[in-house]
Symmetry: C2
Subunit: 90 residues, 2 copies
DNA sequence: CCAGTGCGCTACAATTTATGTAGCATACTG
DNA sequence: CAGTATGCTACATAAATTGTAGCGCACTGG
Protein backbone atom coordinates (compact mmCIF):
# COMPACT_ATOMS: atom_id res chain seq x y z
CA UNK A 1 0.00 0.00 0.00
CA UNK A 2 1.51 3.18 -1.25
CA UNK A 3 -0.28 5.31 1.30
CA UNK A 4 1.13 3.31 4.19
CA UNK A 5 4.64 3.54 2.77
CA UNK A 6 4.32 7.28 2.93
CA UNK A 7 2.36 7.79 6.12
CA UNK A 8 4.04 4.98 7.98
CA UNK A 9 7.09 7.12 8.47
CA UNK A 10 7.77 9.12 11.50
CA UNK A 11 6.16 12.58 11.44
CA UNK A 12 4.58 12.24 8.02
CA UNK A 13 0.95 12.17 9.11
CA UNK A 14 1.77 14.51 11.93
CA UNK A 15 2.91 17.17 9.50
CA UNK A 16 -0.31 16.89 7.52
CA UNK A 17 -2.13 17.23 10.80
CA UNK A 18 -0.26 20.39 11.76
CA UNK A 19 -1.24 21.99 8.50
CA UNK A 20 -4.92 21.31 9.04
CA UNK A 21 -5.90 24.86 9.98
CA UNK A 22 -3.53 27.16 8.19
CA UNK A 23 -0.17 27.21 6.43
CA UNK A 24 2.96 26.97 8.51
CA UNK A 25 6.55 27.98 8.07
CA UNK A 26 9.36 25.51 8.12
CA UNK A 27 10.43 26.55 11.60
CA UNK A 28 6.89 26.63 12.90
CA UNK A 29 6.46 23.05 11.84
CA UNK A 30 9.72 22.10 13.39
CA UNK A 31 8.71 23.63 16.71
CA UNK A 32 5.21 22.21 16.56
CA UNK A 33 6.24 18.61 16.12
CA UNK A 34 9.60 18.90 17.83
CA UNK A 35 11.57 16.98 15.26
CA UNK A 36 14.93 17.86 13.78
CA UNK A 37 15.12 20.01 10.66
CA UNK A 38 16.76 17.13 8.84
CA UNK A 39 13.77 14.91 9.40
CA UNK A 40 11.21 17.62 8.84
CA UNK A 41 12.82 18.45 5.57
CA UNK A 42 12.92 14.81 4.50
CA UNK A 43 9.22 14.34 5.23
CA UNK A 44 8.32 17.64 3.59
CA UNK A 45 10.11 16.53 0.45
CA UNK A 46 8.22 13.24 0.40
CA UNK A 47 4.88 14.88 1.06
CA UNK A 48 5.55 17.37 -1.70
CA UNK A 49 6.47 14.60 -4.10
CA UNK A 50 3.22 12.92 -3.12
CA UNK A 51 1.40 16.15 -3.88
CA UNK A 52 -0.20 16.30 -0.47
CA UNK A 53 1.45 19.56 0.51
CA UNK A 54 3.01 22.47 -1.34
CA UNK A 55 5.17 25.42 -0.48
CA UNK A 56 3.64 28.81 -0.97
CA UNK A 57 6.46 31.32 -0.52
CA UNK A 58 4.06 33.95 0.72
CA UNK A 59 2.51 31.94 3.52
CA UNK A 60 4.45 28.72 4.04
CA UNK A 61 3.64 25.05 3.67
CA UNK A 62 0.02 24.23 3.05
CA UNK A 63 -2.14 21.27 2.11
CA UNK A 64 -2.99 20.73 -1.52
CA UNK A 65 -6.50 19.81 -2.58
CA UNK A 66 -5.51 16.16 -2.22
CA UNK A 67 -3.93 16.84 1.14
CA UNK A 68 -7.18 18.32 2.33
CA UNK A 69 -9.09 15.31 1.06
CA UNK A 70 -6.79 13.06 3.00
CA UNK A 71 -7.21 15.14 6.11
CA UNK A 72 -10.96 15.16 5.78
CA UNK A 73 -10.99 11.37 5.61
CA UNK A 74 -8.70 11.24 8.58
CA UNK A 75 -10.91 13.36 10.81
CA UNK A 76 -13.34 10.62 11.90
CA UNK A 77 -10.32 8.61 12.89
CA UNK A 78 -9.12 11.46 15.03
CA UNK A 79 -12.47 11.84 16.74
CA UNK A 80 -12.53 8.14 17.47
CA UNK A 81 -8.99 8.22 18.82
CA UNK A 82 -9.91 10.70 21.53
CA UNK A 83 -12.27 8.25 23.16
CA UNK A 84 -9.92 5.37 22.52
CA UNK A 85 -6.95 7.11 24.13
CA UNK A 86 -8.91 7.80 27.30
CA UNK A 87 -9.54 4.14 27.88
CA UNK A 88 -5.86 3.29 27.82
CA UNK A 89 -3.52 2.86 30.79
CA UNK A 90 -0.85 5.53 31.46
CA UNK B 1 -1.76 12.95 19.28
CA UNK B 2 -1.53 9.57 20.86
CA UNK B 3 -2.85 7.82 17.78
CA UNK B 4 -0.14 9.29 15.61
CA UNK B 5 2.54 8.32 18.07
CA UNK B 6 1.41 4.76 17.70
CA UNK B 7 0.55 4.57 14.02
CA UNK B 8 3.35 6.84 12.92
CA UNK B 9 5.81 4.03 13.35
CA UNK B 10 6.93 1.76 10.64
CA UNK B 11 4.64 -1.21 10.04
CA UNK B 12 2.14 -0.34 12.78
CA UNK B 13 -0.79 0.50 10.53
CA UNK B 14 0.35 -2.11 8.07
CA UNK B 15 -0.04 -4.82 10.67
CA UNK B 16 -3.58 -3.71 11.45
CA UNK B 17 -4.22 -3.80 7.74
CA UNK B 18 -2.95 -7.34 7.37
CA UNK B 19 -5.30 -8.49 10.08
CA UNK B 20 -8.32 -7.01 8.35
CA UNK B 21 -9.75 -10.28 7.05
CA UNK B 22 -8.70 -12.98 9.44
CA UNK B 23 -6.21 -13.72 12.22
CA UNK B 24 -2.60 -14.31 11.33
CA UNK B 25 0.28 -16.08 12.94
CA UNK B 26 3.47 -14.30 13.92
CA UNK B 27 5.38 -15.77 11.01
CA UNK B 28 2.57 -15.10 8.57
CA UNK B 29 2.63 -11.45 9.50
CA UNK B 30 6.37 -11.35 9.18
CA UNK B 31 6.20 -12.79 5.68
CA UNK B 32 3.28 -10.62 4.67
CA UNK B 33 4.90 -7.32 5.53
CA UNK B 34 8.49 -8.42 5.05
CA UNK B 35 9.86 -6.85 8.18
CA UNK B 36 12.23 -8.38 10.68
CA UNK B 37 10.88 -10.39 13.61
CA UNK B 38 12.40 -7.86 15.97
CA UNK B 39 10.36 -5.04 14.51
CA UNK B 40 7.23 -7.09 14.06
CA UNK B 41 7.39 -8.10 17.66
CA UNK B 42 7.98 -4.55 18.83
CA UNK B 43 4.94 -3.29 16.90
CA UNK B 44 2.82 -6.20 18.04
CA UNK B 45 3.65 -5.41 21.65
CA UNK B 46 2.67 -1.78 21.17
CA UNK B 47 -0.55 -2.64 19.37
CA UNK B 48 -1.43 -5.07 22.10
CA UNK B 49 -0.72 -2.50 24.78
CA UNK B 50 -2.98 -0.17 22.83
CA UNK B 51 -5.65 -2.86 22.82
CA UNK B 52 -6.01 -2.78 19.07
CA UNK B 53 -4.93 -6.37 18.57
CA UNK B 54 -4.81 -9.45 20.73
CA UNK B 55 -3.23 -12.86 20.56
CA UNK B 56 -5.62 -15.77 20.41
CA UNK B 57 -3.47 -18.88 20.87
CA UNK B 58 -5.86 -20.94 18.81
CA UNK B 59 -5.88 -18.78 15.71
CA UNK B 60 -3.17 -16.13 15.98
CA UNK B 61 -3.16 -12.34 16.16
CA UNK B 62 -6.49 -10.70 15.54
CA UNK B 63 -8.08 -7.28 15.80
CA UNK B 64 -9.95 -6.39 18.96
CA UNK B 65 -13.29 -4.62 18.82
CA UNK B 66 -11.41 -1.35 18.94
CA UNK B 67 -9.00 -2.52 16.28
CA UNK B 68 -11.92 -3.25 14.02
CA UNK B 69 -13.37 0.17 14.68
CA UNK B 70 -10.09 1.74 13.71
CA UNK B 71 -9.93 -0.32 10.57
CA UNK B 72 -13.46 0.57 9.61
CA UNK B 73 -12.65 4.24 9.90
CA UNK B 74 -9.53 3.71 7.87
CA UNK B 75 -11.29 2.07 4.96
CA UNK B 76 -12.48 5.27 3.23
CA UNK B 77 -8.92 6.45 3.38
CA UNK B 78 -7.78 3.32 1.67
CA UNK B 79 -10.35 3.70 -1.09
CA UNK B 80 -9.26 7.27 -1.63
CA UNK B 81 -5.60 6.29 -1.72
CA UNK B 82 -6.12 4.01 -4.69
CA UNK B 83 -7.17 6.90 -6.89
CA UNK B 84 -4.56 9.16 -5.38
CA UNK B 85 -1.72 6.71 -6.00
CA UNK B 86 -2.63 6.40 -9.67
CA UNK B 87 -2.14 10.09 -10.25
CA UNK B 88 1.41 10.04 -8.94
CA UNK B 89 4.62 9.80 -10.96
CA UNK B 90 6.68 6.55 -10.79
C1' DC C 1 10.83 -42.03 24.26
C1' DC C 2 12.03 -38.81 21.01
C1' DA C 3 12.87 -36.71 16.43
C1' DG C 4 10.06 -33.43 13.86
C1' DT C 5 7.16 -29.46 13.50
C1' DG C 6 4.98 -25.09 14.52
C1' DC C 7 4.63 -21.63 17.71
C1' DG C 8 5.96 -16.87 19.78
C1' DC C 9 9.80 -14.60 20.47
C1' DT C 10 14.98 -13.10 21.58
C1' DA C 11 20.21 -12.10 20.57
C1' DC C 12 23.17 -9.58 18.19
C1' DA C 13 25.91 -7.34 14.67
C1' DA C 14 25.10 -4.35 10.67
C1' DT C 15 22.62 -0.90 8.41
C1' DT C 16 19.36 2.76 8.01
C1' DT C 17 16.90 6.58 9.94
C1' DA C 18 16.28 10.29 13.28
C1' DT C 19 18.24 13.74 16.47
C1' DG C 20 20.59 17.97 17.96
C1' DT C 21 23.31 21.77 17.05
C1' DA C 22 25.45 24.84 14.19
C1' DG C 23 25.37 27.41 10.30
C1' DC C 24 24.81 28.66 5.10
C1' DA C 25 22.60 31.35 1.37
C1' DT C 26 19.20 34.33 -0.07
C1' DA C 27 15.99 38.03 0.42
C1' DC C 28 13.97 41.76 2.63
C1' DT C 29 13.98 45.87 6.19
C1' DG C 30 15.27 49.61 8.66
C1' DC D 1 25.03 47.73 6.18
C1' DA D 2 23.40 45.40 10.51
C1' DG D 3 19.36 42.76 11.68
C1' DT D 4 15.93 39.40 10.72
C1' DA D 5 13.31 35.76 8.48
C1' DT D 6 13.28 32.36 5.10
C1' DG D 7 14.20 27.30 3.52
C1' DC D 8 17.47 24.20 4.10
C1' DT D 9 22.27 21.53 4.71
C1' DA D 10 26.44 19.43 7.43
C1' DC D 11 27.84 16.46 10.57
C1' DA D 12 28.52 13.83 14.61
C1' DT D 13 25.63 11.09 17.89
C1' DA D 14 21.79 8.26 19.14
C1' DA D 15 17.94 5.41 18.11
C1' DA D 16 15.20 2.38 15.18
C1' DT D 17 15.18 -1.28 11.78
C1' DT D 18 17.13 -5.22 9.43
C1' DG D 19 18.80 -9.91 8.65
C1' DT D 20 20.13 -14.14 10.40
C1' DA D 21 20.40 -17.49 13.74
C1' DG D 22 18.38 -19.88 17.21
C1' DC D 23 15.91 -20.60 21.92
C1' DG D 24 12.15 -22.71 24.72
C1' DC D 25 7.80 -24.65 24.75
C1' DA D 26 3.94 -27.58 23.23
C1' DC D 27 2.18 -30.97 20.40
C1' DT D 28 2.48 -35.14 17.14
C1' DG D 29 3.58 -39.36 14.89
C1' DG D 30 6.64 -43.39 14.81
Amino acid sequence: MRLLDLLGRRWALRIVWELREHPRRFRELQDAIKASPTTVNARLAELRAARLIQLDPASGYRLTVEGRELLRLFLPLHVWSEKWAKKLPT
